[in-house]
């Protein structure tokens, strides 16, 4: 009963909260809501030193949590970093975001046009957001555990996941998959040589069939548990987000050797975008903060710390060699060309894809 009440009242509180705060003369504060472990904290201190604006920094660990807060309104946040697809695109459509005042962002001149252009699919003309970091959805694996079971494993291919003959060899050591239909169904479509953007019921059926053929070898569908599990050597392989796998590599236990690959068939690209909620209480400070992060030396410092590629062309000269030289972080041109993006789904397609996904997961 208690749990049920909790669920009911959480829904109600989320639904009932609202009423944006009124903007008066801006106090010297900016409320930033970012992913956990996603910035070198000295950047925040330097920003305060330079501008006198205090940073109140809060973190989340899933786009869904951020989106639920944004759509309820009245979050009090000034800068948030949703992923471009499908989240930011939908949040813009819902009216939860405000357009950037580009006259307050002179550092926009440093932006990497390749990334900005890809993001414009979700944020037309980049009116609402600026890229912070971007990455790919690929495969993280434990080198020794894979070698032990299959010395000639096709580690640079989606065969590792989608070929039942291959993945079945790793069933005993544990394979996790992202619990994210908008990542896994396009990946399956891409592997089948179909358009990863397709929402045709026939194509979705084929993707569902492919996923079901390897379902018996997947131990768990989860979107964050694989970080710890890879780092501790509890599992040997996971489909995951590049940055999360790099986090696992960073935290790996003694004798554990984890690697991340972008499979040769191509992978989905994701973009985390700095943006300002429609009802942000301190929009001027938010612009000042975004402009500061856009400084090439500042964003380079962030990338060197978190091991992600950023969307800032001029920052590349300040990057450590282990970042800019790593093809899994900054892929070469031919790999870049194979990376795909997925359009936001309409509600009907969304339901189709969610249903196919539930069917894969539960085997029903």
């Amino acid at each position: 009963m208690f749990r049920a009440l909790c669920l009911v009242s959480t829904l109600a509180i989320v639904a009932a909260s609202g009423s944006p705060a009124f903007a008066q003369d801006e106090e010297k504060v900016v409320n930033v809501y970012n992913w956990s472990d996603y910035i070198d904290e000295s950047i925040l201190e330097d920003f305060t030193k330079e501008t006198g604006i205090k940073v109140v920094y809060d973190v989340y660990d899933s786009n869904e949590i951020l989106e639920t807060k944004l759509l309820s309104g009245g979050t009090g946040y000034d800068v948030v970093l949703p992923s471009a697809s499908p989240f930011l695109a939908r949040e813009i459509q819902a009216g939860a975001m405000q357009k950037l005042d580009k006259s307050k962002l002179p550092n926009l001149s440093h932006v990497w046009d390749t990334i900005a252009e890809r993001v414009s699919k979700y944020d037309p003309d980049n009116e609402y957001s600026v890229n912070y970091m971007w990455g790919t959805t690929g495969i993280g694996y434990n080198v020794d555990m894979i070698n032990e079971r299959m010395p000639d494993a096709p580690v640079n291919s989606w065969d590792m996941i989608f070929d039942p003959d291959v993945i079945s060899k790793f069933q005993d050591c544990g394979v996790y998959m992202l619990d994210a239909p908008t990542e896994m169904i396009p990946a399956a479509l891409n592997y089948l040589g179909l358009d990863p953007n397709s929402t045709k019921p026939d194509d979705i059926d084929k993707a569902e069939e492919l996923l079901k053929s390897v379902r018996p070898y997947i131990q768990k569908f989860h979107s964050s548990a694989y970080i710890d599990s890879l780092a501790n050597g509890d599992i040997c392989m996971a489909v995951g987000w590049s940055g999360d796998v790099f986090q696992a590599i960073d935290a790996e236990a003694e004798g554990i050797n984890v690697k991340y690959v972008i499979p040769k068939e191509g992978a989905q690209m994701w973009f985390d975008q700095m943006s300002i909620p429609a009802d942000a209480p301190h929009p001027d400070n938010a612009h000042a903060f975004i402009n500061y992060i856009l400084r090439p030396d500042v964003i380079a410092k962030a990338s060197n710390y978190v091991f992600y590629a950023n969307g800032n062309k001029d920052s590349q000269q300040y990057l450590d060699e282990e970042i800019i030289g790593d093809p899994a972080i900054y892929p070469p041109k031919d790999v870049m060309d194979k990376l795909y993006t997925v359009d936001p789904y309409n509600p009907k397609a969304q339901r189709l894809i969610t249903r196919a996904w539930t069917s894969v997961k539960t085997g029903q």
């Binding site: 009963m1 009242s9 829904l11 309820s72 029903q364």
Partner: protein, 297 residues
């Protein structure tokens, strides 16, 4: 004057709990009920406005859409999730009762001196966060976890058991987490029991087991019922335990609700799921009350 004042004072005292219920239970319930009649929209908040304001009340009532409830019946997923939740909760409740009853009995019969100590031992785990205790079970149950290492070193098994990410882990998690809710009401009833009744039964030739079945168990029925409800009801809606310990095929309604609300952003369907869950849980409470009324009359 004095009588009048005490009349109002009594009213106020009674009104406080009612007000509490109205503000923290009835109002949220009505808001969720309202959303459950809406439809999703890409907006803030993410559902179409429904039933706002009191103007044209009757027309608005006629506009109400039961689509979300119909949807729950059309897709077998929801019914399976409800049934599977009830099944998992029922089995867990029975296991909890089987473990909790002997514990409570032993506590009730323990010497007065150590009884507070035993009671403390039951309550002590609550001093640690529920979430951390569930996380700890991941460490115990995983393939290289403590349990498998122990069994392997004892030679009981030669291959690690796969427990984590299965329904077994969910049962273990629920039974562990809810055991105190079973033990405490059982202990309360068993402790009050007049032990002379057992002595009388023994004097009259009943075997210890016979006395237990014919006297102890029937007298502890209220405790069994209260404990079972305290375990069963929260277990049905459990989300954390199946999410952390269960496998991807562990179907429970709390998880389905989470997916609808956060992943699909389908607040209306999530609300409908929550309303149906609440109605389902009211049934055992009503049965319990009926039984209590019968017992007291």
């Amino acid at each position: 004057m004095h009588a009048l004042r005490s009349f109002f004072a009594r009213r106020v005292v009674i009104a406080i709990p009612y007000l509490w219920l109205a503000v923290f239970f009835l109002a949220p319930f009505l808001i969720v009920l309202k959303i459950s009649f809406s439809a999703t929209a890409i907006a803030m908040p993410p559902y179409a406005p429904v039933f706002d304001g009191l103007a044209n009340l009757w027309e608005r009532v006629q506009d109400l859409s039961f689509d979300n409830y119909v949807w729950l019946t059309e897709d077998a997923l929801y019914i399976k999730a409800y049934l599977s939740s009830v099944k998992i909760a029922l089995i867990s409740t029975v296991i909890t009762l089987l473990i909790g009853y002997p514990l409570a009995l032993a506590m009730a019969r323990a010497p007065d001196r150590i009884r507070p100590l035993l009671l403390m031992a039951i309550i002590l785990p609550f001093w640690t966060s529920f979430l951390i205790r569930v996380y700890a079970w991941i460490g115990i149950l995983k393939p290289e976890g403590l349990l498998n290492q122990l069994l392997l070193s004892l030679g009981v098994i030669d291959q690690p058991l796969t427990i984590i990410n299965t329904n077994w882990a969910v049962y273990i998690g629920i039974v562990y987490s809810y055991l105190p809710f079973m033990v405490l009401p059982l202990y309360a009833t068993l402790e009050k029991m007049d032990y002379r009744l057992i002595e009388a039964a023994n004097d009259l030739g009943a075997t210890p087991l016979g006395a237990f079945w014919k006297i102890t168990v029937p007298l502890s029925v209220p405790g069994i019922l209260a404990g079972s409800l305290l375990v069963f009801i929260p277990a049905v809606g459990e989300f954390v335990i199946p999410d952390l310990l269960g496998g991807s095929d562990t179907l429970m309604i709390g998880r389905t609700l989470w997916v609808e609300f956060f992943y699909n952003r389908d607040w209306p369907v999530a609300s409908a799921v929550a309303i149906v869950l609440l109605l389902l849980l009211v049934v055992p409470i009503v049965i319990f009350q009926k039984m209590q009324q019968r017992a007291s009359s």
